[in-house]
Amino acid sequence: MWLGKNRRRLDEFFDVEGEKSEELRIVGDAGRVKWIGRDMTRGRIAVEGHAGMHLGSRMAGGAIEVSGDVSDWLGAEMSGGAIHVRGNAGGQVGAAYRGSLAGMRDGTIVIDGRAGLEVGQRMKRGTIVVSGGVRDFAGLEMRGGTIVLGAAELRTGAWMLRGTIVVLQSIPILPTFAYASTYSPTFLGLYAQRLKRLGVEIPVDEHAGAYRRYTGDAAIPGKGELLVWEPRG
């Protein structure tokens, strides 16, 4: 591993135990350790504590679980596998690195806490769930895939071409999104079923409420959708 510009042995920083294996457990505060699980294709990493930037960046398979918080670029440009963060995440979750045409290409990211700016920027496929809500520009220039947000600040879905952003409470909508209808999208049932296994609930009960559907972003012009949950009554 690298400390700044110098290459060091892993055991200068960590007590390393066990044999070569498909499973890796990192215990303690790795909040300043970058690139954990970069390019991983299989196996399992469990971080018991915090993790730093670029966790699971460009990963193609396997699973990562973090009990604490993670920093920016979580799962950036990932193409498969699953990440579950129990705490909060930084910005650019599942995003494209600067200049790249595509962010997340497939896979699943679940964040139980909150996340920062530009969640799912330029994502093409895959699912991102942030139960606690996000800051501005969620789904920026999104080209496909599904983002589920507990709440969101401004400019959600800005410049999106395709894809779905589900928000579980009312949010400010850009002028370039057009309200379409209020309904219960059948396909959300698929996501609800799947996410239930990961401990995430998406409301799909018609008796409890429905989703307001907005399409946009007309600036592109795009045919993405914002689905905003509206409880009945």
Partner: protein, 319 residues
């Protein structure tokens, strides 16, 4: 997907009949911009000078620049992105929500009128300042305006450029690009350039406390950066090269006074349109130039044993 459509300032002088200033106050911040480049001068294809041009100012408050504009559009703070995104839709004849537009402080009619005028222009130019690029949305606000300008070229000629701040910012950007490939936020600690704004940009490094020394040239972060960044600068060996004592000098370990570039030190400065201008010093200075100091430091450092980067693709015995 977006673009950057620009030109040298002479093109604006000679051709632009429609000019938008967005989030900037050139009358006070770039005092010669109106008279030398963008508004009043007569140009080859704008023989009437100011009379031949329409100027629009978009800002959140009525600055002195508003007086120089034919049209002033006052929007609510942090609504730039919403307005620009709406304009991008309107130029493509897409529908927008009038009620949501109204929340920006401007009406749909005002924006439609602006779009109609933009499309009628022969040559449109857009300039933007920190009122756009440093408010909520930051680089995405600038991106919105740049995209709008690029897309306008489907209808008529349009260009767009930032009004860069003080110092030779553009020059640093230019030189970094040709030596490292990236314009800013470059990290050389692995022996080759890496780039990631938000990770390697100065303010982020300082706030996170990632660096263990700082060498500051032609900038005064102590005056502008957030408190955690300043505290970190104060806690590490910080060296400042500056003609005068700055906020950063006060918290640094070392301040080296250097000659004022352009006044008593030669070199090249890049204008905001990336035109290189030779600097011819008018005065002599008792102080060394920045270049001289950097060369001397480099020579001194070269006497120490060299640090050799290792190619991270080569899995060496250490791993």
């Amino acid at each position: 997907m977006g673009g950057k459509v620009s030109c040298t300032l002479g093109e604006v002088t000679n051709r632009a009949d429609f000019i938008i200033f967005w989030g900037g106050n050139p009358a006070e911040c770039h005092p010669r911009h109106f008279t030398k480049y963008s508004l009043t001068p007569k140009g080859r294809f704008v023989p009437d000078g100011r009379k031949g041009r329409t100027a629009v100012l978009v800002d959140i408050r009525e600055t002195p620049s508003a007086k120089a504009a034919d049209i002033f559009l006052q929007l609510r703070p942090s609504k730039d992105f919403e307005v620009l995104t709406t304009l991008r839709a309107l130029i493509k004849d897409q529908r927008v929500d009038p009620a949501a537009v109204a929340e920006t402080g401007l009406t749909l009619e005002q924006l439609q009128d602006l779009v109609d005028r933009m499309k009628k222009a022969r040559f449109g130019a857009m300039f933007f300042g920190m009122g756009l690029s440093m408010t909520r949305g930051k680089h995405m606000n600038s991106g919105a305006l740049l995209n709008l300008a690029a897309e306008m070229n489907a209808f008529t000629k349009f260009v767009c450029m930032p009004m860069r701040g003080h110092g030779n910012v553009t020059g640093a950007d230019v030189v970094l690009r040709y030596t490292t490939g990236y314009p800013f936020g470059v990290n050389l600690s692995r022996g080759y350039p890496r780039y990631n704004p938000g990770e390697f940009s100065t303010v982020d490094l300082l706030v996170r406390g990632d660096n263990d020394a700082a060498f500051i040239l032609g900038a005064d972060p102590g005056a502008t950066m957030p408190q955690p960044a300043i505290e970190h600068l104060a806690s590490i060996p910080t060296i400042v090269l500056d003609p005068k004592v700055t906020h950063t000098s006060r918290l640094s370990r070392v301040h080296i006074t250097t000659a004022v570039t352009g006044v008593s030190a030669p070199g090249t400065a890049y204008r905001m349109d990336e035109i290189p201008l030779p600097l011819a010093p008018a005065l002599r200075s008792p102080y060394p130039t920045d270049e001289e100091v950097v060369r001397r430091i480099r020579r001194a450092v070269a006497r120490r044993p060299a640090w050799q980067p290792v190619d991270e693709n080569v899995r060496s015995a250490i791993a």
